[in-house]
Symmetry: C2
Subunit: 686 residues, 2 copies
């Protein structure tokens, strides 16, 4: 329920890998699958045709999830928690589909998900020489600028049809490699089916990231193009069978971000600053939301997805924090760094070539500590959907007047279509939630940066966070997509002429936000990238070419097997069955049964396999990834990791780290016996 | 506004002092004032008569504050934030004295503060040999048991009039010294005067722990005995003059708790576990309270004092956390430990005598990590006023059946009168706040310990935290002081017969709570005390007899001088004036003017000195302490420290650490020109 990729958790994409991989470890790119290693461990490995077919059926959802094509008619399997945001935007006070579930039943009733886009990789090209040539010997802010310009140019030249194509240059191995990913994009994604939230998220936050687990965390979408379902003959075959113990399983999806083998200094930064600060702010915001939602059923309905996101991020980050406090876990990471440093030191030519990147990272982290709070609080202006719209409008207007290569990366020609889609898609705005988020972020900015700082004075003027948030949210017209479209289309002139209070407020504070962003790039991002490039060169020199890059929310494949683990001396079995759901239900939130399941009890075979765990190495962003068997058929959808998987941000522990999957067997049973899933069931069998 | 002592922040009272003191450093006991050191630095030092007189006028408030006698009629000066809890209990929805201020004007209108007790030290006796003899060579849980028994016996024998006397054995230097403090206690404390909250706490949380500052954080109480004001001829003289730069100032009060020179392992434990966990839970609770209070003016009124306490604790603990992350600050502490260890190692006889207490502390901290979350979440049952009443009733009933020496320390004969007063004093209960606190603590216990833990299952049964809290708060009769008194008086039989749901729930979970407490004592407290005793022996051996013990919420005296400091190269002046208040006011919360001050603007001399800072070394619990000049007259009341003082929990930095004081001059101006303070003013002059 938690492996949706939260943008808030993307940190510097500069993890510094420093060791060789362990059994089942690795989030591999499709152009570098470790077939030999897998064959040695499992006695077989997929061939290129298998890989190509799977790659062509793997869908990235720009909302932060993964998915797969499971019919020839554009039907997409993913997690419930990847579609719940869409279900909520389609709900009303009178008809809460989050609570009751959503069954389209027929094509005309399938409903467009605002902001959602599906993307399928069509080509991967190595562009390392071009980007590295553009960077040359630059460092600091100049490095970042040159790299971004090179990326913008490659992306712009790589995709000529902005309506159907998307190009992205991806930084791998901390800047040691650059790859151009080309996608076919589907900007019309519609909701087909979602069970009740309570069926998908049985056990709620307490059971999240735990196992045994009894969640039906699945949902179906459909890709459309030109108003019609897309023909997808290359889809994966649906296979609602129970997986067997120890059988090989592949997870194919888009892990969002990992920080495997950061240097010790980077991990210390994260342990001391990023994680505690994010956790503290998430905690207070969680408290504010819980209490606001308790005061009003309509707030409870409209705040639910944000609360889920907060609690999910909180638990994931807390798991990271605890893993870094674990002496055994962090000791392993420290040893890996020490080993690499020793190997470099033992090779004078290598040492001469790469210098001391660890010391450079130390310096960059010292700079990061100094800029951390201002960068965190000021580099985005305000918080919430409306402030986000205003920031995108104000910045897009300014950036579009510049040459493509000189823009902020978020506003290059390649990036603008998704910005525009986000701005112009209609979606509900809940003023109470906007006020709450904006007021909260302002109060934290004041708290962390102090009342008398110039930037804080400029943000607040003589108003309190409460009064300012109320005035801006109450006064802005940005909830209207037509207003947003007019401002976006009108560009700099329209923004300059706008009297919308949110636009004016964001515009007045944009220069300060950009200044802190530039400082961060010059003092932290640039130096870290320069160091990481050399550090990864050392790593390749020492460990050879069989390594995988950190996660970047791009397509990866992981192999593993169905297997439980041992927790404090007790074996945790790898599977749960539907009988267990009914045993665990107490009748109290969040352990109450979804009405559809309660009613279907007699019709559901208690022995049906429900959820299962595997040794696959995944992370947030992999939510909705198909679990694929040796034959390339879909036997489930990954939706979570166990509690030990949270340390997976920094390192993979084969003994403990597990992926949690809802089985195709359970999904089939739910479609057949608990919901009106006849149409989908028929389509899946076709 | 923040130096009230929060019981939640009391940790193991086992700080391990390991260095010699620096200029103006030290919270000195009255039986060991460093007159020679002060004389050397300041050219004079108080004599014994001066010290005795001041000691006799210093009042400890059991609510967690300090205070002083300032008239011959029992009038007590303290901080507003030390009386605001009382003001709130005396308020109603119709008359919110927190907002409007409270002026008794005459004795009959002075109102009893529930739960409050004033205590004045009458004797300090060294009982180290007796306690050490009782402990002998014991360790672990046995050490704790023997020590507590010895303390109970000494306290019981030391005070023969439980109505007017209180005896407490205080552990100093981590168990190296034990002193019996004998107090005259005044269990009838009444409210005389409080300004508006907004005058006392101008700038609110953003300005808390900051300077320059414009807060009139004062209030007046009166001690009563047998229904009449107490005659207090030994009071301190009121002296509403402006302090002079660099003049010597004494702060006399009860610093609550410090952890100066914990070992590195203890600081790591605090940095990694105690501080983040407490901060995270305070954050969420803060968010819940803020939002609940925003939904309803009556909740805003009745939740205000708890929210203040949470925000104040949060800021104090966050300051501690940041100080431990500061490489310079923590480097100094690490060096001090290394120096002491080196000196011990260089003295074979000493090394032989004390062994390796650092290694013992390391082991105790490893055990602490393992027991940390269960101990934190389970050793008290539930949260909130009603659950606290139930726990006190259930435990007192059980403990009173045991011999005095075998009881939990909170329920010895010496401790019981204050327990009884807390239980039987009438004070308002706000059911919404009770539900919120209880629900929150239950949800955190489930989150940290997991749903399937036996203790969590026992606490919750099949209910959710929300439903259980609602049922217990809704069903209990413990809001009625007569019910509480009957249960307390009725003892074990009454508790066993009670059908009150809160009593039954607490009783059902008491064994588990006691078990984790015993485990903590055996594995953490006992071993840490044993090690600390030896470590402080080493410290005395190396540094001689001129050290001060960690704070223990007992009477201390600190000397220092009026002085600003340099912040990022900019000099911060040591005083503020009333003009600055009007300059800083924006009209927006929390920078709006209190109505009385706004109205009085023309009558107030803008040059009147308002708040000032000194180099005195204080900490939470010192709130309300008199600032006393060389002549023994009161020139202000300490109410805060600057942001750097928060690291003062671990170490004192003479360059940066400052005490914040509201001047007697400003108090006098407020009494004369902004409030109807004629009666008090006249009494102060008498």
């Amino acid at each position: 329920m938690n492996f949706r990729h939260s943008v808030a958790t993307i940190a510097l994409a500069t993890a510094l890998l420093a060791t060789s991989v362990r059994a089942d470890e690795g989030m591999w790119t499709f152009d570098a699958f470790p077939a030999a290693a897998m064959k040695q461990a499992y006695g077989f490995a997929p061939d290129q045709a298998w890989l190509d077919r799977v790659r062509g059926a793997a869908v990235r959802l720009t909302g932060g999830c993964s998915a797969s094509l499971v019919s020839g008619n554009g039907l997409v399997l993913t997690n419930h928690h990847c579609v719940v945001d869409c279900v909520q935007t389609l709900s009303t006070p009178e008809r809460d589909s989050v609570k009751t579930g959503f069954v389209a039943g027929a094509l005309p009733k399938e409903a467009k998900c605002p902001g959602q886009q599906g993307e399928i990789v069509t080509a991967i090209t190595d562009v390392t020489p071009t980007v590295k040539a553009a960077i040359g010997d630059l460092t600091g802010g100049a490095l970042v600028k040159a790299r971004n310009a090179a990326r913008a140019k490659i992306e712009s030249e790589g995709c000529t049809d902005p309506k159907r194509e998307r190009c992205q240059v991806v930084t791998l191995f901390g800047g040691n490699q650059y790859k151009l990913y080309k996608y076919h994009k589907y900007s019309d994604v519609r909701l087909v089916f979602a069970p009740e939230l309570q069926a998908a998220f049985f056990g709620g936050d307490p059971d999240n990231f735990n196992f045994p687990r009894y969640a039906l965390d699945f949902g179906f979408l459909r890709l459309y193009e030109d108003g019609k379902p897309v023909a997808t003959p290359g889809h994966l075959k649906w296979n609602p069978r129970a997986p067997k113990p120890d059988e090989a399983v592949f997870i194919v999806g888009n892990p969002g971000s990992t920080q495997r083998l950061f240097t010790e200094a980077q991990r210390a930064m994260r342990r001391q600053y990023n994680l505690p600060t994010n956790l503290l702010q998430l905690s207070e915001l969680r408290g504010r939301l819980i209490e606001a939602m308790a005061s009003d059923p309509e707030k409870a309905r409209t705040g639910a997805d944000e609360l889920f996101g907060i609690e999910n991020s909180y638990k994931a980050l807390f798991g990271q924090y605890r893993s870094l406090l674990d002496p055994a876990f962090s000791g392993t990471l420290a040893t890996a760094e020490a080993t690499l440093r020793a190997k470099v030191a033992a090779d004078p030519a290598l040492a001469q070539r790469i210098g001391d990147p660890w010391a450079d990272v130390d310096k960059a982290m010292a700079a990061y500590r100094n800029v951390y709070y201002p960068y965190r609080q000021l580099s985005s202006i305000g918080a919430g959907q409306l402030a986000g719209y205003a920031e995108a409008i104000v910045r897009a207007a300014a950036e579009r007047t510049k040459p493509n290569g000189e823009r902020l990366p978020e506003f290059t020609d390649a990036a603008l279509p998704l910005v525009e889609k986000g701005l112009t898609d209609a979606r509900p705005v809940y003023p109470w939630l906007e006020e709450l988020n904006l007021c909260f972020s302002l109060s934290k900015t004041r708290e962390y940066l102090k009342v008398d700082t110039a930037e804080v004075r400029a943000l607040l003027g003589k108003e309190s966070p409460e009064a300012l948030a109320k005035r801006l949210v109450g006064g802005t017209k940005l909830a209207d997509p037509a207003v947003r479209k007019a401002l976006f289309d009108g560009g700099a002139a329209a923004v300059a002429a706008s009297t919308d209070p949110m636009i004016r407020w964001v515009a007045a504070n944009d220069a300060a936000a950009r200044a802190i962003d530039l400082r961060f790039k010059a003092e932290v991002e640039g130096p870290t990238t320069a160091a990481a490039t050399r550090l990864n060169a050392a790593r390749f020199a020492v460990y050879g070419d069989t390594l995988y890059p950190d996660a970047t929310f791009t397509l990866r494949i992981s192999y593993g097997k169905v297997a439980g683990w041992v927790e404090n001396g007790v074996a945790v079995p790898p599977v749960t069955r539907i009988a267990g759901l009914f045993d665990r239900a107490t009748g109290s939130v969040p352990f109450d049964l979804a009405p559809s399941l309660e009613k279907a009890k007699a019709r559901l075979d208690p022995q049906t396999l429900m959820d299962f765990v595997t040794t696959n190495d995944i992370i947030g962003g992999n939510s909705g990834s198909p679990a694929i068997d040796r034959d390339g058929t879909v036997i489930g959808a990954a939706f979570d990791g166990n509690i030990h998987s949270l340390g997976g941000n920094f390192g993979y522990d084969p003994a403990l780290n597990r992926t949690v999957i809802v089985s195709a067997a359970a999904i089939q049973a739910a479609l057949d016996h608990a919901y009106d899933g006849r149409a989908i069931s028929a389509e899946l069998k076709r």
